[in-house]
Amino acid sequence: MSAQTSAPRRRSGLARVPLLVWVFLLVPFAIELFWVFWPAANSFSLSLTRWDGITPAEPIGLQNFRDLAADPIFLTALRNNVIWVFGFGGLSVVGGLVLAVTLNKPGPLVGLYRSAIYLPMVVSLAVSGLFWRVMYAPDGPINGTLGLLGLESLERQWLADPAVALGAVLIAAVWRQVGYIMVLYLAGLKGTDPTLEEAAAVDGASAWQRFWRIVMPQLRGVNTVVFAVTVIDSLRTFDIVWAMTRGGPYNETQLLSTYMFQQAFTTGNLGYASAIAVVIFALAIGFIITYLARQARTED
């Protein structure tokens, strides 16, 4: 904990540390160490074992990772996760940004529009999944609407058709995420300087140019946060897929998180599941550091 034993700097407003304050800090910190950092460290060592949770774990070195490289379901999950990062991330960022710019200035009904867009956020991911199961049901509203529009050829079993299932789940996830991104960008836009944009308008810059040359550069900070949050969220995505398809049909909507959960708690391959978790961690850590670095700078 107190690795740096260099002389504590005297800073104005910071008192010496009484015992009670150490308790204040160390109790929560110890709880987090015990429930987060210790388990995380354990996952790394478990990933080097074969373990069913009953008999003692058997160390097998890197065999789990070699098996992963040859596991077609893992490779599907990895591919789907890449698609997910770009599809889920891309659509919700573009959607959220467009909506934020559109709804930035107050006006009649604007508050209503904003509330409608971020209302899905209060619905849990699991429940969102159930909502969209209703939408995608074979005789549900989406197929019904397509039928009404004379587009019967587009009707399908959205969640049972391997070709479209992942996209169908992705749309549901984007529906819930866009509001969050919009809120972040609305706050970012509030921090931009409107006089710069007006000056550019006077100089004859088009709305498009003003957006890319004047507004976007001022949103750099928000962009970093949105980018990191989106990727971290993409790699964590579990609930909505589990609620909608459980990774099916034929593992076509499997993400790393769902496959990991299945291996751990359905199949009982705890070592193998830990290896998948380590892969998820390895993919996420760069973005976690990006986010932390930004937070560290704002802490200064």
Binding site: P8, V122, V123, S124
Partner: protein, 292 residues
């Protein structure tokens, strides 16, 4: 993008002049009204399905407009479907977890923001980092820890896990707020003879109410909406919170769409109430970490 077509006539040098309000083009509403309706359509359709009778859905299809009004979906979901029980579990777990998380993280934030703790920046960022880890890397060991200490398959375990995973983030946010409190208040209290505990209780906590409210709104929705921790820690159905119970409901009542729809709506109500009551706090909570 909105029409920014504004006849701008700003005298560049005159600071006194307010900038003119841009004239709104009707295109904003022409695009936003359909978008809004489309956005709300899943919620509206689920509501339609939930209030239809089973026979109506079976006879006329799920996509049809309601031709019946019935609360049988809600009644079945709440009683036989076990939604009421699950809702109770969720409320209890959420209440304890939110309270414990905020209590622990506010004392930690107070210690980190107001005292010369060596390496406090590192501690703070480490705590935040813990919250950013993908939960997958914790699931298997957390499940075995709950077994090892004898709290496997209990709601207590779920509360403890939620607290452990959440406090890093809440501490970080509260630290940012407490650090901005004016030093003079603390000096004054110290001169009056208040100790660190008294200062926390009588000064820091009351002043931190706005950020505690924002975090409470956010934490409530997070913990109430959680699925993965519940599925990792709990095995017995009667202890499931609403999210996990709904997935079971959906398996058990696969063809009774009105029951599933009613159950999902019931699950969405508590967080929706929190959202509408604390909309401002909720949004400001979301913005935490994105501030410049």
């Amino acid at each position: 993008m909105s029409a920014l077509a504004t006849p701008v006539a700003v005298g560049t040098g005159t600071g006194a002049r307010r900038r003119p309000r841009p004239a709104r083009s009707p295109w904003l509403h022409v695009t936003m009204i359909p978008v809004t309706l489309l956005w709300l359509s899943p919620i509206v359709f689920v509501l339609f399905v939930a209030v239809r009778s089973y026979d109506d859905i079976a006879g006329r299809g799920l996509g049809a407009f309601p031709a019946s009004f019935s609360t049988e979906g809600f009644a079945t979901a709440l009683t036989e479907g076990g939604v009421l029980l699950a809702l109770g579990n969720s409320v209890v777990v959420t209440a304890f977890a939110v309270f414990a998380s905020l209590a622990l993280s506010s004392v930690a934030a107070y210690a980190l923001s107001r005292f010369a703790i060596p390496g406090r920046r590192t501690i703070l960022l480490t705590m935040l980092a813990g919250n950013l880890l993908p939960p997958q890397i914790l699931l298997v060991p957390v499940a075995s820890i709950t077994e090892a200490i004898g709290i496997a398959d209990t709601r207590t375990a779920l509360v403890v896990v939620q607290v452990g995973f959440g406090i890093g983030f809440y501490t970080f946010v509260l630290h940012g707020f407490m650090r901005s409190l004016p030093t003079e208040v603390f000096e004054a209290a110290r001169l009056d003879g208040a100790g660190p505990g008294g200062i926390f209780w009588r000064i820091v906590l009351p002043l931190s109410r706005p950020s505690l409210a924002a975090l409470a709104a956010l934490a409530t929705t997070w913990i109430f909406n959680d699925l993965i921790w519940a599925m990792t820690v709990l095995r017995t159905e009667s202890k499931f919170p609403i999210t996990a119970a709904l997935l079971n409901l959906q398996g058990g009542y696969a063809s009774a769409w009105n029951v599933v729809a009613a159950g999902s709506l019931i699950a969405a109500v508590p967080t929706a109430i929190v959202f509408f009551m604390f909309q401002k706090q909720f949004v400001s909570g979301l913005l935490v970490g994105a501030n410049k």
